[in-house]
């Protein structure tokens, strides 16, 4: 029922697969309003995460998340590296050394992740960043957890809300990140980081539900 270290590993592997699969889509989103590297950055980072997980064997969900964080920080670079890295670092801290995570713990981890991103990037909702995907995801995860759902459903709720949040970035004028340099011209395009957040959460949810 709960989410073990093995489950988190499986979720990260699924995340690695999804960002690799959507590498070109993320590059294209970033090409239009950024610098065309988000897909490459995410694929490089998660490829490294998957490789690292194969060689080490962290024993708690928190340890897996922390390993993921440090690998992302040292392989991604760009804006997304420290932001996602911090998100996973804070998520790891939030779950402590519990051997299994229930729905509420997962929801808390997602929330800690958002707080990490905001602490580092200082973006607000509506700035057209991954915060616009994570914020509704946190809300949805919390609601699902409060309704007593387990990790799979909590993540599924988060993923769906994140995707809606990502799509909602389309009309926005960016105020943070590279797209902000375009001013009004940034409107009309989905933020690549918001999209990758939705993709990751959706892969995590599928992996969690697929047991």
């Amino acid at each position: 029922m709960g989410c073990t270290a093995q489950d988190v590993i499986a979720a990260l592997r699924a995340g690695a697969a999804t960002v690799t699969e959507h590498r070109d889509e993320l590059i294209e989103l970033d090409r239009v309003i950024g610098d065309a590297d988000h897909g490459e950055n995410m694929a490089r980072g998660f490829r490294a995460v998957a490789a690292k997980i194969d060689t080490s064997a962290p024993e708690t969900p928190g340890a897996v998340l922390k390993l993921c964080a440090t690998v992302l920080i040292s392989t991604v670079g760009g804006a997304s590296g420290p932001l996602y890295g911090t998100a996973f670092l804070r998520a790891a801290a939030a779950v402590g050394d519990a051997p299994e995570l229930d729905g509420a713990a997962v929801a808390k981890a997602v929330q800690a992740g958002l707080e990490g991103v905001v602490a580092r990037g200082r973006a607000e909702v509506g700035d057209k960043t991954m915060v616009d995907a994570l914020t509704p995801a946190v809300e949805a995860a919390k609601n699902a957890a409060e309704s007593g759902e387990g990790p799979a459903k909590v993540l599924a709720a988060a993923a769906e809300a994140a995707q809606q949040g990502a799509e909602a970035t389309e009309p926005l004028v960016a105020r943070k990140g590279r797209a902000s340099y375009l001013g009004e011209r940034s409107a009309g395009h989905i933020d690549p980081g918001a999209r990758s957040t939705a993709l990751l959460l959706s892969a995590f949810a599928e992996a969690a539900g697929g047991r």
């Binding site: 590059i27 065309a36 590297d37 490089r44 670079g77 590296g81 990140g177 590279r178 340099y181 011209r185």
Partner: protein, 331 residues
């Protein structure tokens, strides 16, 4: 995509190998993580000025490593800021006991990654300071946004502060000088064509014949506006006026004028544009005391140019004139 490369994922590493081979007297390259270090680092008792950022802007920053300028440069993937461990490695390789000054161009990624490295190095007892360069007047400055980009001013800052460090200035003074340069330098750029990021494989934006992007940065992001391609006279005016208004620069000022090619614009055109800028400044009573003309902060093969103006004082001028011995600047 037309490039002289092997595997797109290996471009930066293989390019650094060639750079190391080309300049054995000036620099060495350390790998995993990749750092370009001046040949004689660490230099005991001297402040190490370290910079870095995504690759694709060559000669920035690796070409400025050497005596009188940078102690090290940290190259990320193309257009992707390097990771904190790479910056840490650069700090370790260059710290000669007098501290390290990080020169960071103002991009979210660069700021976050360098910040993290500085924090970690601080924990190890190294005195690390950071200075953020944000000289691009094309971007509206605001506390609610990512703020202005760091562009051409970075080159001038690295030369001037590097000279001070070489002369033995302490970390406080290097930091003060760096902030002084930031406060007195402004830039603006334009593009005729888009660069192609190797791992993306297609141009970063599509620009019709007869169009140009004005207010571009150095990462292939589109600019503030797409406007009809006009004459060189008009282009230079469009770049210069926002720069002059912003600081502002006024009659009687003495400046360094830096006319920069974004990579694909040949010297023939660049000198032509430089001559126009000199004339426009003379008309406004602004005296050009020093100049730099060439491709120094580029965006891969992008055609286009930027202008950078630094308000000089005697001290900055002397530091600009001080000897420098790097791959790209040498006097």
């Amino acid at each position: 995509m037309k490039k002289i490369i092997n595997d797109p994922a290996a471009v930066v590493a293989q390019s650094l190998q060639g750079m190391a081979a080309a300049h054995p007297d000036v620099l060495r390259v350390r790998t995993d993580p990749a750092v370009v270090v001046r040949a004689d680092a660490p230099v005991a008792g001297k402040v190490a000025v370290v910079s870095g950022g995504g690759s694709g802007h060559e000669p920035l920053h690796g070409g400025f490593v050497g005596a009188g300028m940078l102690a090290a440069a940290v190259p990320g993937a193309v257009f992707t800021s390097p990771t904190p461990d790479a910056v840490q490695a650069a700090i370790e390789e260059t710290n000669g006991g007098a501290g390290v000054l990080l020169v960071v161009k103002n991009y979210t990624g660069d700021v976050l990654n360098f910040e993290t490295a500085a924090e970690l190095a601080g924990l190890d007892g190294v005195d690390v300071r950071s200075v953020i360069v944000d000289d691009d007047v094309a971007v509206k400055d605001s506390t609610h946004t990512a703020g202005r980009r760091g562009v051409g001013g970075t080159v001038l800052l690295e030369k001037i502060v590097g000279a001070a460090a070489e002369q033995g200035a302490d970390l406080d003074r290097c930091e003060e000088l760096a902030r002084r340069v930031v406060s007195r330098v402004r830039s603006m750029g334009m593009a005729l064509t888009a660069p192609t990021v190797p791992h993306a494989g297609q141009p970063s934006f599509d620009l019709a014949d007869g169009e140009m992007e004005i207010g571009i940065g150095i990462h292939g992001e589109p600019g503030r506006a797409r406007v009809p391609l006009t004459s060189a006279d008009d282009i230079v005016r469009q770049l210069l006026e926002p720069i002059l208004e912003d600081l502002p620069f006024t009659s009687g000022d003495e400046v360094l004028l830096f006319t920069n090619s974004m990579g694909g614009t040949p010297l023939l055109e660049l000198y032509l544009a430089h001559g126009i800028a000199e004339r426009l400044l003379a008309e406004r009573g602004i005296r050009v005391r020093r100049r730099l003309v060439g491709p120094y902060i580029t965006s891969l093969e992008m055609q286009g140019m930027s202008l950078t103006l630094l308000k000089l004082d005697d001290e900055l001028t002397e530091l600009w004139d001080a000897p420098v011995h790097t791959a790209a600047l040498h006097w």
